[in-house]
Symmetry: C2
């Protein structure tokens, strides 16, 4: 595809660096922007740059935040003794949307993956251990490991538990099982196996 303009070409090139955006979609976005008013495009352009210049990471949980300490870490209504360890910011949003969890978070920023060259020092693991060890900002009684059930997630869980165990903190993990509304017939064996093994008292 040859573009009639170097400026258009650059915009398309830049837009196609976004995840899952190919040249064709990038061109559609660029041509769409060309048709918009200048203030609208300026708003978009500036809001993207602000993601790098103005957005903070909470100094305790590393969740994205407009302030140095995020609203969750600074809220007095949360159970401050419980810290849920997640891979990324989206996981925090997903858990918050359930409105079932009232504790705090710790965003690792990834999982240990030797193939991708991600080791413990590339993740927010040291700050998690410091949080548990020092009780700063709040004493931690329980750490919930909520990392993905992949080889990398399991490796990270194992690594974390080895580091956390000596600190005398309670370590738990998410219940896994057949999803609510799913029929057993179509569940994969590993999930169904976990549902059976982790069965709980019936409340009826």
């Amino acid at each position: 595809m040859t573009l009639p303009s170097r400026i258009l070409e650059q915009a398309v090139e830049q837009l196609s660096t976004l995840p899952g955006v190919g040249k064709r979609s990038a061109l559609r976005y660029a041509l769409h922007l060309m048709k918009q008013d200048e203030p609208a495009v300026r708003d978009l352009s500036e809001s993207l740059l602000r993601l790098k210049t103005d957005l903070h990471r909470c100094r305790y949980c590393h969740n994205v935040s407009d302030t140095e300490v995020c609203p969750i870490c600074s809220s007095e209504k949360r159970q401050r003794g419980i810290v849920c360890v997640v891979e990324n910011v989206q996981d925090v949003m997903a858990l918050e949307n359930t409105q079932q969890y009232r504790g705090l978070y710790h965003v690792l920023g990834g999982v240990i993956s030797p193939i991708d060259g991600v080791g413990p020092s590339d993740l927010a693991i040291a700050s998690l251990l410091r949080r548990v060890e020092s009780g700063d900002p709040y004493p931690v009684e329980e750490v919930i490991l909520a990392l993905p059930t992949t080889m990398e997630g399991d490796t990270t869980n194992f690594y974390l538990s080895r580091q956390l165990r000596p600190l005398g903190v309670k370590i738990t993990t998410l219940a896994r099982g057949v999803a609510v509304g799913d029929s057993l017939e179509y569940a994969d064996e590993i999930t169904l196996g976990r549902s059976i093994a982790g069965r709980i008292p019936f409340e009826g």
Copy 2:
């Protein structure tokens, strides 16, 4: 979906104004940008803004261009007596990619659509008529109508032919028919009908 930051929220809102981009994709893009280096995000941000500030439209054919007159209109190798009327910039790119067309273009910027409130005065029709009438920049012998075969495209074709006919210019349109490689069995009747009606001498 509640986002943990107003800045992130604004970026997501802005990104989801792009065509076909929902909140979830916009969030993915924003979180991806957050992880990039600042210079990379600055490049993206600036290249988008340049689409409005630095990009020109060719004064003759209205195709996007880095210069006042586009490379096609200023090329001496093109057949300057032929003008192909298209809906948008993408159509020019598609035709250029065939490497079969050596004439010039005229980008209308849309088609007449009363439902969407688009009338002849919203399109680059006056400048097309002026081009044909005045012979500026080049005398026009043939106008090819290459608008989409929709109700709106047909309406626009009809309107243009009524305006162009008195100017004594030759008016043609694209051949429509079964695509190369497609089997007749699966072609829709209208397309197959046009293929039969517009049959051409066999060169074998």
